[in-house]
Symmetry: D2
Subunit: 227 residues, 4 copies
């Protein structure tokens, strides 16, 4: 599925305690209010599978964090990608740095999600990995150098070349938006990532481990909307 909004602010809830308790609910409420107010930023919340039914009632742009490359069937404790047909999520992260899968599984998931009109945001460590993924035609690609994830050192400052190289490598193959992630801490990191050619950011600990997660979300979205 093609993505239409100008810039993407994607929050990966991961499996922090805040992903499961009232903080998650509050972030969804904040996202809902901000989305009504600002038109130039799309906010995506990527939440634990057990939380989707609770959060889609509050905010409608919810992603899963992982789906399994499986049809329906006798699979216990796995989430068949086919099941997205019945789920009110917009899409899913795929191949996140903390949940790497092999290429053929990325391929199966993206293909099925495209068929179900669901979005796939596929992660890559490097421009080379991103290039291979671009051949699969996912909705978006997020490039995150693993050594910077959770570091507080923003990719847009520490490794700006990985953003430009990834954007260039992907564009050669297909016109897929590229997000930047890893170490994104303050709104200026997102602005910098956008200036480098990305279509937005994927963020996690800077929101989920913040003293005031809602304020972080507000600050990012306001700044990104003002570009």
């Amino acid at each position: 599925m093609a993505i239409k909004m100008k810039y993407v602010f994607a929050v990966n809830f991961k499996s922090y305690e805040t992903a499961y308790n009232n903080v998650a609910v509050e972030i969804a409420k904040t996202a809902s209010q901000l989305s009504s107010k600002y038109n130039n930023v799309r906010i995506i919340l990527s939440v634990p599978s057990v939380m989707i039914n609770k959060l889609v009632n509050i905010y409608d742009d919810i992603y899963l964090q992982h789906v399994d490359p499986l049809d329906y069937g006798a699979y216990t404790g796995y989430l068949s990608v086919d099941s997205l047909k019945y789920l009110e999520v917009k899409g899913s992260l795929v191949n996140h740095s903390e949940h790497k899968i092999v290429y053929r599984d990325i391929e199966k998931i993206v293909k099925k999600m495209n068929g179900l009109n669901k979005e796939s945001l596929v992660c890559a460590d490097t421009a080379g990995e991103a290039a291979g993924i671009a051949y699969l035609n996912p909705s978006m690609i997020a490039v995150e150098p693993p050594e910077l994830i959770g570091s507080g050192i923003p990719v847009s400052k520490a490794k700006p070349e990985i953003i430009t190289e990834s954007v260039n490598a992907v564009k050669k193959i297909s016109d897929i938006p590229v997000l930047a992630g890893a170490g994104i801490t303050v709104p200026d990191d997102a602005i910098k990532a956008i200036e480098l050619g990305s279509s937005g950011v994927l963020i996690a600990s800077a929101v989920m481990k913040a003293k005031d997660p809602n304020k972080v979300v507000i600050d990012f979205v306001e700044k990104m909307n003002s570009i």
Copy 2:
């Protein structure tokens, strides 16, 4: 946590299409009605993670199918066992035949679940595996020879000795209820399993792939209640 009800009828929804659509909802409604009516059978529904928030509003004895042996943290697309603190599930399957994990992971999960006052129903292929698991003090153990799962050939007929041996091996270590599973198709299979010393059955395809899943659930619960 100790289990109190007489016999257990546990339905593993697996990842069949019926686990995600209206059939799942109907089974939960049926379970709710039957639980009010019959006192000698406990009905457990083990459902996909994405379905728990929808189904706990209908029926309160819901299990997950798998949890990950992780604390809270930067884990994308995993379900930290700690999160059960916030989830309205009664417990989870652990180490199902289709989702085998290593012993130390079973240990971590069961220990954490005991601490959270959540139930663990740990699966085993054989009496030997069940014996090792009994040392971990889970809420229940289910023994299922993998070659009979989904076969329509009930363990209670094809391998009755695996039930008696497992019950005996477990009882030597701790007084943990043992369920029987694999190939359970008709209510008499459950009765036979109980006569062999088990405390009930774990069933999947005979319900989830039935033409009339609710009828299968009703038939089993009525028969098991009448013992």
Copy 3:
């Protein structure tokens, strides 16, 4: 490491019984004789790890089938890629269809092997996967559609476009030789694969499960040498 010989005939012994017994020794002897006789074909034998010390005494162009993306250290039952420093093998298969690994592990292995002056023959299912791998600068890439492996239906006939597309996708990034594999059964399959732009073939069951494996090797090498 750059590859110099004209065409490559790579035999993956896999874990067939013949990979461990006297057949393996006989194939190594045959390879040794053929290599002295024919100059236009390079024969690579990719053998089980336990066999390398026995076979390098007979034939010097031996590959492993897999190495682990590990430094030296407290890893039991893994083969640290660093150890190739001490092993008399020329290189290793990486990411074979039957042993898929994630992109970052391919990256670590290839980088280390390049540093050790060892060759890496990295496998891919598709042109897209091959393109991503090309960014890592391995010695060679082998493209094998998994559904044709062991099928007896040669990729060069059933899916010739996968060879041409892969060669084209790789050449855009780097000048890395591309082999074709899956279903290669008779010498003409190899000739066809070379005509389609590949630099040779990766073969397994057609040799290892043959009545007369040495004859198959001889037939292929003679035919490939005569191009």
Copy 4:
């Protein structure tokens, strides 16, 4: 296979650099000399798969560190347990703390190895895991608390109860020798482990990372032989 010698001194080479270079060869020579001289200690060297053919020519009591629960077949980069038929090793470690596998895979490996008259030394973290494994009738069981491995804090001092409990749990099921491992550093640690009921020790870093590995081996074997 039943084990006959009095006390076992098993050295796990792991994947340290010394496992692949001349140190490995020297340890094998030392083991060969010591075995001729001392009758009360059996020395087992568990070495990387790529080293077995080199080391069996020097010393005949060689183990693998891991085998895969596979028959012969189209498995690339795996070591089918069936292949031990052709290998001059005495047996293999199974389920080491650094290479944990699920119960049914331990079962398949031990069963096949018993059928091939090869020995299996199966590792366990705890008495409970050891008890489950005892049902499979392996040649030996080694108990190693994972948190002490490589720590220099010997299990026989830090957690003596894990040795006695494991010996007791195993003996209830079958008369299988139990080794102790983790943090074993000096000969007295081995003596203590034997006094606690074990049949010997499994050691790694204290030998492989020593300044003079051969001296460590000699010191242990002399001391253990003198009991």
